[in-house]
C-alpha cells in the first residue's frame, strides 16, 4: 500500500493575523500614548519646580507669550492630531460622532469620551501655560484641581490605548493586563524623550546651555523608563508564548515569522539598542546635541513600531471547527511507517 504523503505546507497551521485595524490605528495609539506621556512628564517637571531658563517673554498680536512652560505641555496637541487618524479608519467617517453612544459597554465609546476630556483639559492647560506666570489669577486651588484632573485623564488616555485592544477578548496576544501596562510605560518613555527634545529645542533656539541641567535630569528618568519598558515587553512576550494557542502563534510571527524584521529591526534595534548606545555615547560627548536628537528620533520611531507590531500580530483565537479540521487532517494523514515485510 503506497502511503499518501501530504506536503508539509498543507499540515502547517493557517495563520492569519487580523487586518481590520491597520496603520491608522497604530498611528492613533502611538500619538495618543506619546502625547499623554509627554503631558504627564511635563506636569511632573512643573510640580517639582523645575523649569526652563530663561523664560522668554515676547508679544504675539499684542498678548504676552511665555514658551518656557508651554514647551513641556504640548502633548495634548499630539493627541488631538492622533484622533483624526481614528476617524480616518472608519467606514463612514462623517458619522464619527455616533461613536460615543454606548459607553455602558463599549470601550471604543468610553475612549471617545476619555480622549475628548483629556484633549479639552490638556489644551486648556497648554493655553494657560503660554501666558506669563501669574496670569488668570495665578495658581489657585481651582487651577490645581484642574491640573490634577488633567493628569488623571492623561494616565487614563495612555492606559486606554492598551485597554482598547485588551477589550477585544478573543485575540490572545492582546488579552492581558500586561498590554495596557506595556503601552503605558512606552507612552511615558516616548513622552519623556519628547519632553527632552522639546527642552533641547527650546535651549537651542532661545538660550545657551541653561536648559542642559534639566535635560540631564530628564535623561536619567528616561533611562529608567526604557529599562522598565524592555523588561515589561520581555515578560509580555514570554507569558504569551507560554500561554494559549494563538498567543504563541502571534509571538512566533513577531520573533521568527513574517514580522521578524519589524520586531528585531524596528522594535529591538531602532527602539532599544540604538537609543541606549547613543545615550551612552552622549554621556561621554555632552557637547553635541546631535547625538541626543538621533537618540530621540530612534526611540520615537521604536515606539511607533511597537504599536504596529502588536496590532499586526493579532491572531484570533481558533474556532472549535478549525481545531476539528486540524485533527481531521492529522488523523487522515497516514504516517510513513516501516511495515514488517520490508
Amino acid at each position: 500500500m503506497t502511503s499518501e504523503i501530504v506536503p508539509q505546507e498543507r499540515r502547517l497551521k493557517f495563520v492569519k493575523p487580523q487586518r481590520e485595524w491597520k496603520w491608522e490605528i497604530a498611528i492613533y495609539l502611538y500619538l495618543a500614548g506619546m502625547g499623554a506621556g509627554a503631558f504627564i512628564i511635563g506636569m511632573v517637571v512643573q510640580w517639582l519646580g523645575l523649569s526652563l531658563r530663561p523664560s522668554t517673554a515676547f508679544t504675539l498680536f499684542g498678548y504676552p507669550v511665555d514658551l518656557s512652560r508651554a514647551a513641556f505641555l504640548w502633548g495634548p496637541i499630539l493627541v488631538a492630531i492622533g484622533a483624526p487618524f481614528l476617524i480616518l479608519d472608519l467606514g463612514i467617517k462623517r458619522r464619527f460622532l455616533y461613536a460615543c453612544l454606548n459607553p455602558r459597554t463599549s470601550w471604543v465609546a468610553r475612549g471617545f469620551l476619555i480622549l475628548s476630556t483629556f484633549i479639552v483639559l490638556g489644551l486648556a492647560m497648554f493655553g494657560r501655560s503660554l501666558l506669563p506666570a501669574g496670569s488668570l489669577g495665578g495658581r489657585t486651588t481651582l487651577w490645581i484641581l484642574v491640573e490634577m484632573i488633567s493628569v488623571i485623564f492623561a494616565f487614563a488616555t495612555a492606559i486606554y490605548t492598551g485597554v482598547l485592544l485588551k477589550s477585544v477578548k478573543y485575540v490572545p496576544i492582546w488579552n492581558t493586563p500586561l498590554l495596557p501596562g506595556l503601552f503605558l510605560v512606552s507612552a511615558l518613555s516616548t513622552g519623556s524623550m519628547l519632553t527632552i527634545l522639546s527642552a533641547l529645542g527650546y535651549g537651542l533656539v532661545f538660550a545657551g546651555g541653561e536648559s542642559l541641567g534639566l535635560i540631564h535630569k530628564l535623561i536619567g528618568a528616561e533611562q529608567i523608563l526604557i529599562l522598565i519598558e524592555a523588561v515589561v515587553l520581555a515578560v509580555y512576550l514570554l507569558t504569551k508564548y507560554r500561554g494559549r494557542d494563538q498567543g504563541e502563534t502571534s509571538v512566533r510571527l513577531l520573533l521568527s515569522g513574517e514580522l521578524k524584521f519589524l520586531f528585531w529591526g524596528g522594535i529591538v534595534l531602532i527602539g532599544f539598542i540604538f537609543p541606549v548606545t547613543l545615550e551612552y555615547l552622549y554621556a561621554h560627548f555632552p557637547r553635541s546635541p546631535v547625538l541626543l536628537i538621533a537618540t530621540g528620533i530612534f526611540l520615537l520611531a521604536g515606539g511607533f513600531f511597537l504599536r504596529l507590531g502588536v496590532l499586526a500580530s493579532g491572531v484570533k483565537e481558533q474556532l472549535p471547527m478549525h481545531k476539528y479540521v486540524e485533527m481531521k487532517v492529522q488523523l487522515s494523514t497516514p504516517q510513513r511507517s516501516i511495515s514488517p515485510g520490508q
Binding site: 487580523q18 467606514g91 458619522r95
Partner: protein, 159 residues
C-alpha cells in the same frame, strides 16, 4: 418561543456556494459573494466545507463592543442585527466576534451580518442538500438525533 436560528450541518455541505450567491442577491441586488452574509469556508485538500454565519448568541459580544449601539439584539424577532444607519464601520465587532461572522462591506462602507432575511432565510430556501436549515433554537439537535438514530437502526439491521 425561543426564536428560530440557522442550523448548519457541515457534513452535508458540498461547497457549491449557492447560499452566498442568493444571499448577496437578496441583500444587495447583485450576485456578489464577497458581499454575502453567509460564507463557506473550504478545506479542499480534505474535502471539508463549513458554511459560517452569525450564531445569534444570547449574550452577543458584538453588541457589547459596538460604540454606537448599531449592533443590537432585536428582541421581537430574536436576532442580532446591525442598524445600517447607525453603523460607522469601525470594524470592532469583526475583531470581537469569536466566530468571525460579521464582515466589512467595501461598497456600503459598513459592517454587515446575517439578519435571517427578515424571517425567510434565502440560503435555507436555496440549499439543495439542506446543509443550512431554519429551526427553533431549542429544537436544534433533533434533526441530527434522528439521523444518528436512523444510522444505528441501519447498522443493527445489518447484523
Amino acid at each position: 418561543m425561543q426564536g428560530k436560528v440557522i442550523m448548519i450541518d457541515q457534513e452535508k455541505c458540498t461547497g457549491c456556494r449557492q447560499c452566498e450567491m442568493v444571499c448577496s442577491v437578496f441583500h444587495t441586488g447583485a450576485s456578489n459573494p464577497s458581499r454575502s452574509r453567509i460564507r463557506v469556508v473550504k478545506w479542499e485538500h480534505i474535502g471539508f466545507y463549513l458554511p459560517q454565519t452569525c450564531q445569534n448568541c444570547e449574550k452577543p459580544f458584538c453588541t457589547e463592543v459596538c460604540p454606537t449601539k448599531a449592533c443590537h439584539r432585536d428582541l421581537e424577532n430574536q436576532r442580532v442585527i446591525i442598524d445600517k444607519n447607525l453603523c460607522i464601520g469601525c470594524k470592532t465587532c469583526i475583531i470581537a466576534c469569536p466566530f468571525g461572522a460579521p464582515s466589512f462591506d467595501k461598497m456600503e462602507r459598513v459592517t454587515i451580518k446575517c439578519d435571517y432575511c427578515d424571517g425567510d432565510p434565502q440560503c435555507v430556501s436555496f440549499c439543495t442538500v439542506k446543509a443550512v436549515s431554519y429551526v427553533e433554537a431549542d429544537q436544534l439537535p433533533i434533526g441530527k438525533k434522528r439521523e444518528v438514530g436512523a444510522k444505528y437502526m441501519e447498522l443493527m439491521a445489518r447484523r
